[in-house]
């Protein structure tokens, strides 16, 4: 048993991985082999063979834990006593958590709007130019970088060094190594501690998510823009629409469903953002969000009830956006 649970050397780990995959293939193979060999099976046995693993996994891993967490959110820190809605009252009224809610709201409004706007403008600007695919890849690449990697990349952009100038010659004694502070110095402004100064630091974290999501928005919207029928565009052009007029009165209305899908999809992803806050500020200096505070309360503060309540709040916030998203997705599929 120990061989299966503790792998220390690289060889052992790879062996374990191969064993796990083989084990899985073996179990699935047996099920399918049984289904194929035994003729005249009742339908429900076949269905059980195909769907059994899924139902088992989902019931164990999503359904039961979800219900359990909602249940826990009505109990105290050690899950001993029923406390009613106390955890929710705490989450909505204490100043510390109101900052968390304010930040979450900022994230969920700004990230979708700004990244969709930039993605759309960029998609329209590069549409049918010679550099289109190269230009797309440049914006697109951040999507493949992990949120941890992106956070480190941006932390370096924001890097701050104590400003020091020789009082006589005006020469810089300390060189900035973060590009953003260097730009400030070039402009003759004092360098800033971007990640420490409240409340602006939240905005500088939000920039990272916008940087990532703009590529997603650009890709989906570019496909939608290309799908606008040429005759509509042609007719509008004959009516004298150009440039910005075309953008506002033809492009944007034509791709409205795709726009909504992009906005809501990004909003869902943003609500759950955890990695950026953890890597860049560790939730300090007033930058925490619900998805991160859940982690802090559950694992650091050992307050199971409050952690569960925060997770449930996240759950409740996500539901309406997902429902709206799915309905619009259907609509936009008709257009694509």
């Amino acid at each position: 048993m120990d061989w299966f649970l503790n792998a220390e050397s690289a060889g052992h780990k790879f062996a374990l991985m191969v064993v796990a995959i083989l084990l899985f293939v073996l179990v699935m193979g047996l099920i399918l082999f049984g289904l194929e060999r035994i003729r005249r099976l009742p339908v429900w046995v076949t269905v059980l063979g195909f769907l059994g693993p899924t139902v088992l996994f989902l019931a164990f891993g999503l359904l039961y834990p979800g219900i359990r967490t909602i249940w826990t959110s009505f109990f105290d820190a050690r899950s001993d006593n029923y406390v009613g809605l106390d955890n929710y009252v705490t989450a909505f009224t204490e100043p510390q958590f109101q900052i968390v809610l304010r930040n979450t709201l900022l994230w969920v409004v700004l990230v979708p709007l700004v990244s969709t706007f930039i993605g759309l403008v960029y998609a329209v600007l590069i549409d049918r130019t010679r550099f289109e695919s190269f230009a797309k890849t440049m914006i697109f690449l951040p999507l493949s970088i992990s949120l941890v990697g992106a956070s480190i990349i941006w932390k370096f952009v924001y890097e701050y060094k104590q400003h020091a100038v020789n009082p006589v010659t005006g020469e810089e004694l300390v060189h900035q190594i973060g590009i953003l502070n260097q730009v400030l110095v070039w402009l003759g402004l004092p360098p800033q501690q971007f990640l420490l100064n409240q409340p602006w630091n939240t905005l500088f974290l939000i920039v990272v998510m916008i940087w990532i999501q703009a590529g997603f928005a650009m890709t989906v919207l570019s496909a939608a823009v290309k799908a606008i029928p040429d005759d509509i565009v042609e007719a509008a052009r004959l009516d004298g629409l150009h440039g910005i007029g075309m953008f506002r009165y033809i492009t944007v209305p034509s791709i409205r469903p795709a726009l909504v899908v992009v906005l809501t999809t990004i909003a869902i992803g943003t609500l759950k953002v955890f990695d950026i806050v953890r890597t860049m500020t560790g939730g300090n200096f007033g930058t925490s969000v619900v998805a991160y505070e859940f982690y802090t309360q559950s694992f650091r503060a050992q307050n199971a009830g409050l952690g569960a309540a925060l997770a449930t709040i996240l759950f409740v916030l996500v539901i309406p956006i997902v429902v709206y998203n799915v309905r619009q997705l259907r609509l936009s599929e008709e257009i694509r």
Partner: protein, 314 residues
């Protein structure tokens, strides 16, 4: 947008550096641009270039930094590197094998975590998607909607009860918990997407196989699977990127142990404890990024396809 002046007609474009290329466009392309009502002014190209540059500089800066000697990184900004170009691979050497970081170990963990966490959910989801698409049984629609609806459950909601369960079973801190968790979290979206693709396959193909006496298993392997390869590739890339780049699941179930924790957990930890050791952080970030980057660039076509089909997990 309102700050933009009315776009100038194509012929009026003055010789502006970034525009030279655009003026060499073929006639057909020019027409296409005009037809689409593109913002074909110097402003338009300028904005596009500014966005592209802004989006690239942060990554480029850290990439350059990762090849600079430690002393240089601390003394001057990466943009001054051209004044005195010295490059080294020492940061990568140190990050991968140095005793304080040993990212090579965590790299192995990332690989070991990712491969089963991609293979297992896709296999299970393929079977389920087949059942939903091609087996007629009572309660099918209800069950499908239920599976689909589970997409709304944020994984945060599930973490603590799952962890408790794993501890009870004595599995805590092993690869099994991470494989199992990633497989579970991937299922609703995978089933939904693969089901959509499966529905697109002409029913006549399946019918024909049925007439020939093929059972469900045979139809699944011989008729559907070959046709679904592109769809599987799309989702596989997504799941791969998701698992490789994941922090929350790994952090919860693996903790920070060098036996199980993936690169993301280790690099995030370094960022907290050695926040100013940029020679390690920059190299570490790119060690972590290189695999998904290569996969992404090589299979971009499938990735875009998956994106457009709606495979975005929150």
């Amino acid at each position: 947008m309102t700050a933009l002046p009315p776009p100038a007609p194509l012929t009026e474009q003055v010789a502006d550096e970034p525009l030279r290329a655009e003026r060499r466009l073929s006639r057909a392309e020019k027409r296409a641009i005009a037809v689409k009502g593109k913002l074909s002014s110097p402003w338009a190209s300028g904005i596009a270039i500014v966005i592209a540059v802004l989006w690239t500089i942060p990554t480029f800066g850290l990439l350059v930094t990762s090849f600079r000697p430690k002393e240089d990184i601390r003394a001057t900004g990466w943009w001054t590197v051209w004044q005195d170009p010295t490059f080294t691979l020492e940061n990568y050497q140190e990050a991968l094998f140095g005793s304080s970081t040993s990212l090579a170990t965590y790299f192995v963990n990332s690989v070991v975590i990712t491969i089963p966490a991609v293979v297992i959910p896709i296999s299970i989801a393929l079977l389920a998607a087949y059942a939903f698409a091609w087996i007629d049984f009572r309660g099918r629609n209800l069950l499908f909607v239920a599976v689909f609806a589970l997409q709304v459950v944020p994984i945060q909601v599930t973490l603590i009860p799952l962890l408790t369960q794993y501890v009870d079973w004595g599995l805590a801190g092993s690869f099994w918990t991470i494989w199992l968790s990633h497989s579970i979290f991937a299922l609703p979206l995978a089933i939904f997407l693969l089901h959509n693709f499966m529905k697109d396959i002409p029913p006549s193909l399946v019918e024909a196989a049925r007439v020939d006496g093929a059972g469900h298993v045979k139809i699944f392997f011989q008729v559907l699977l070959p046709l679904l390869t592109p769809a599987i590739a799309s989702f596989a890339i997504f799941q791969f990127l998701w698992v490789w780049n994941d922090l929350l699941v790994a952090l919860t179930f693996a903790g920070g142990t060098p036996n199980v924790a993936p690169l993301t957990v280790r690099v995030a930890e370094l960022s907290g404890t050695r926040g100013s050791a940029w020679e390690l952080l920059s190299a570490g970030a790119f060690i972590m990024t290189v695999v998904p980057l290569v996969v992404f660039l090589a299979l971009q076509r499938y990735f875009v396809r998956g994106l457009l089909a709606g495979s975005v997990k929150g």
